[in-house]
């Protein structure tokens, strides 16, 4: 398209247009990395879970700085940010998974339905039944498919009879969208399934104890696009029954599945906004840089 180039006043002619384009106005304070609190809407009415002034330390090193965030009922909230930004650490504070790390110390207030989950009388095992977790790598127990799903209900005594347990297992597998694929193989080992099936098995295991919240830490990063689409579809269905918080490295995934998106950067919560806003008009320059693939 270089054969015709008439003059445009104010612009040079010929092949030099690229080099001499006039400077653009309206640059924001670009690459200003100072984070002054969280922008956007971190709080919602009647949240399912809430964190206030959350600080997390690994020994001397602080991993989370004063994060305050609500997780609304029956919503999917996506947490995004570069590696080491603290999003997984924050997710793990929500079901006290960090308790398992001796040098880890958690400060601030973390509530489930308004109850402090770090209160001395809280049993972390019971808490984790209410706030389930699905991990990056599918980690089925080296047991049968049936026993994988039945593990939680047995542990928490949710079924009195074999028939009840059968029912829970079937219901969970149906909700996880796996039942039809495995119904004739329930006593085969869970580790023999494909990656996507294993991850759905882990989701079935998480929902077998009838949790209220499901935390997902990069649930599809080890899966192919088809298995990923199946999990995302499943998340959308589960949303009507559960509250879901998902940490993901895939911005497209955050854009596809979540209603709100939280952007973490160097241990701080930079921006929380409705997902449709974050991916079209993010409020903070750091969010913009991250989702558009710019350095800053």
């Amino acid at each position: 398209m270089t054969d015709v180039l008439p003059t445009m006043p104010g612009l040079p002619t010929g092949e030099t247009v690229v080099d001499d384009t006039p400077p653009m106005t309206e640059t924001r304070e670009e690459f200003d990395v100072e984070i002054k609190g969280t922008v956007g809407a971190p709080f919602v009415d009647d949240p399912k879970m809430s964190a206030r002034h959350s600080n997390v330390f690994y020994g001397e090193k602080q991993a989370i700085f004063d994060v305050s965030l609500d997780i609304g009922r029956n919503e999917i909230i996506a947490m995004i940010g570069p590696s080491g930004c603290g999003k997984s650490t924050f997710l793990r504070t929500l079901n006290r998974m960090n308790d398992t790390i001796p040098i880890c110390r958690v400060e601030g207030e973390h509530c489930l339905d308004g109850e402090d989950i770090y209160a001395p009388d809280q049993d972390p095992v019971l808490l984790r039944a209410r706030v389930g977790m699905v991990f990056q790598k599918p980690n089925p127990f080296p047991k049968s498919i049936y026993d994988n799903v039945a593990y939680g209900p047995r542990l928490h005594g949710l079924a009195r009879t074999r028939a009840e347990l059968d029912e829970i297992v079937e219901k969970s597998l149906v909700r996880a969208g796996l039942f039809n694929e495995v119904k004739d193989d329930l006593h085969k080992p869970g580790t023999g399934l494909s990656g996507g099936q294993q991850q759905r098995l882990c989701i079935a295991r998480a929902i077998a104890v009838d949790p209220e919240v499901i935390l997902m830490d990069e649930p599809t990063s080890a899966l192919d696009p088809i298995a990923t689409a199946t999990i995302e579809e499943l998340m959308d269905e589960l949303k009507s029954r559960y509250t879901i918080a998902v940490v993901t490295h895939s911005m497209q995934q955050a854009a596809r599945v979540s209603q709100r998106t939280a952007y973490f950067h160097m241990g701080k919560l930079v921006e929380v906004n409705p997902t449709n806003q974050v991916f079209t008009t993010p409020q903070h320059q750091l969010t913009e840089n991250y989702i558009t693939g710019r350095f800053g």
Binding site: M24, T25, E26, E30, T280, T281, T292, R294
Partner: protein, 237 residues
Amino acid sequence: MEIGHHISQRYNQELEEIRTHVLKMGALVESQAENAVKALLERDGKLAKKVASSDYMVNRMEVEIDEECTQVLARRQPAASDLRLIIAVIKVITDLERIGDEAEKIGRYSRKLAKKPPITGMHATLSHLGELVLGMLHQALDAFARMDTEQALSVITGSNNINDEFDDLSRLLITYMMEDPHNIKQALRVIWCARALERIGDHSRNICEYVIFLVRGKDIRHTDLQEILDEIPDDAD
């Protein structure tokens, strides 16, 4: 607004190329419009013919830029300001292409007008309308090139003048036609040209609206002018 600074240098180049191509297309369309107005006012049949037969170049550029945008959408999945840039470009080039069509129309009518004796008393008003419209188009393209929302807003604010000018011209021509029905054919050609100029003004205004969308992320189409003015300056950072 920044186009560069992506981690992927290739991505920076792709976006910069698209922007450059839009500026080139804008320059071509502007020269088409300028020549059309010149041919109309100076009754230059040769220039009019040239304008009428050059529109294919504008069309070709529209198709090429569209294709480049499609590629970026498919391969880069742009987000935030990059996404807004691509969307704005796709819309801007549609309006540019239509401006090209209007210029072509003016060229066609001007050729015919040049063959007949001129309509007296029309030149000053027509010339003023042409000046206004070309100025508006130039400022709109400039606002896009510099991503300057203030200038874009001032173009939008000024666009009402064109409607007034067009109405004045219509009244003049109606009188002229009533004086002698033999004038109707010529007068209609003039009014079609004026109408085309007015449309160029509308398309220029659209381009300015996309500039504001691109920079601010706000869609101000079909919004009352006062509402826009109330909303935008508050946002000025």
